[in-house]
Homo-oligomer: 241 residues x 2
């Protein structure tokens, strides 16, 4: 249990988004299943979702190193999708249908506890995002999913990706608070460890199904983080909100 | 009347805040009146409000040129307030009371039409702030006043103040849209003219009482801006929201 002192010292919570707030994998699987049914295509929805996500960093890298013209996030997702459609032998689709599927990234659903937990946490703390995802995508996801952040922040604003300390320190600085008054909420221990090393507080939320069943849970040491919670509702309980 | 085409092309509205969304002057006057009554001090609330606001830029300048240590926004407002307390002969006050008065900048009230207009506009457009005010202050004001932006943006993020084009272009870029898909909403014609010159759309909202009664309204040419509205509710009407 966190001490009362922790609750009093923390002024703002900043949330990792993909995996921690939204169930990106489940959302994509659901849409790929529906897409396959509609178009009479036999798909591997889970493999498709994982491959799409895994393609993000290499595609970003390709844009950088091949000096491709700067791509908007939708175009970047489309670059990966076009390869996947070939790989999964999904051919002869209409452009409108492909475009709709591509925008599934705007339609990621929050975990079932996210909105109710955030609503409670917002009564006591400033709540923000801190994601390596593109700012414009965060806005679209949050708008659709009715995630009422006090503000959205993306690593993009700091010209560094997590886990670089500039991202956590930059967040605290923008919010006008000390790093020790900022708590990162995430389901990825590495992200949390970097935030802790930067002087921030940490809350580990277990999203054991982020990568689907059969994946071992991340290894976390006892007492490694200030708070451990199974979801955002329990996090609100633990943080007195 | 804007054309239907304008409504369809504009994807996001970005709002000037001080004057356009919040009635900074009226809010401060109300608090200074209450403060004076509580402490038995005869004040000049309107003069006090105007002097406090007018002191902001010189104080910022002083911090920069005298290489004062970087000041948080509350400390900057306090620097000005301490001078004003002497000037207005408001002496012998307790530190807690001065500190409370200083934080009136967190408690600025929106104009009466702001929340209802924004609620309607948000159903159709992404809505954000674009203020020269400090990011942390925008968050505090919006949180208290229940202004449900899709995101808060401050000129601070772009390392330029309005009316530099980097601020308008940077906003469009972060939102992943073209400048022509972004509309600035403001009560200050100069701000709007700069946004227009940067390729953005413009909505002039008349806040004729921003500076109190007796000030002539800003000079605006017929047809100079895409939309002219008396308040945010009329703006929602005009923009089909």
């Amino acid at each position: 249990m966190p001490s009362r002192r922790l609750e009093e010292n923390v002024k703002a919570l900043t949330f990792d988004v993909f995996g921690t707030v939204v169930d990106w994998r489940g959302s994509i699987i659901r849409e790929v299943v529906a897409f396959g049914a509609k178009h009479g295509i036999d798909t591997d929805p889970a493999g498709f979702a994982d491959a799409w996500r895994a393609g993000y960093r290499p595609a970003m890298q390709r844009v950088r190193t091949e000096a491709l013209p700067w791509l908007k996030i939708d175009a970047l997702h489309r670059l990966i999708l076009d390869d996947l459609l070939v790989k999964y032998d999904m051919r002869g689709l209409a452009e409108d249908d492909i475009d709709h599927l591509n925008r599934v990234w705007h339609r990621l659903d929050p975990w079932p506890d996210a909105v109710s937990g955030l609503t409670r946490l917002k009564t006591r703390y400033i709540i923000t995002t801190l994601s390596n995802g593109k700012f414009s995508l965060l806005i679209k996801i949050s708008n659709r999913a009715r995630l009422r952040w006090d503000c959205s922040l993306s690593a993009e604003l700091f010209h560094h990706d997590k886990p670089d300390p500039e991202t956590y320190l930059g967040t605290a600085d923008l919010l006008g608070i000390a790093p020790s008054e900022l708590m990162l909420v995430a389901c990825h221990p590495d992200d949390l460890r970097a935030a802790r090393a930067a002087g921030c507080r940490t809350a580990y939320v277990e999203r054991l199904l982020e990568l689907g069943p059969g994946h071992p849970p991340p290894r976390v040491e006892e007492g490694e983080f200030d708070v451990v919670a199974s979801d955002f509702v329990q996090l609100a309980d633990r943080l007195g909100a």
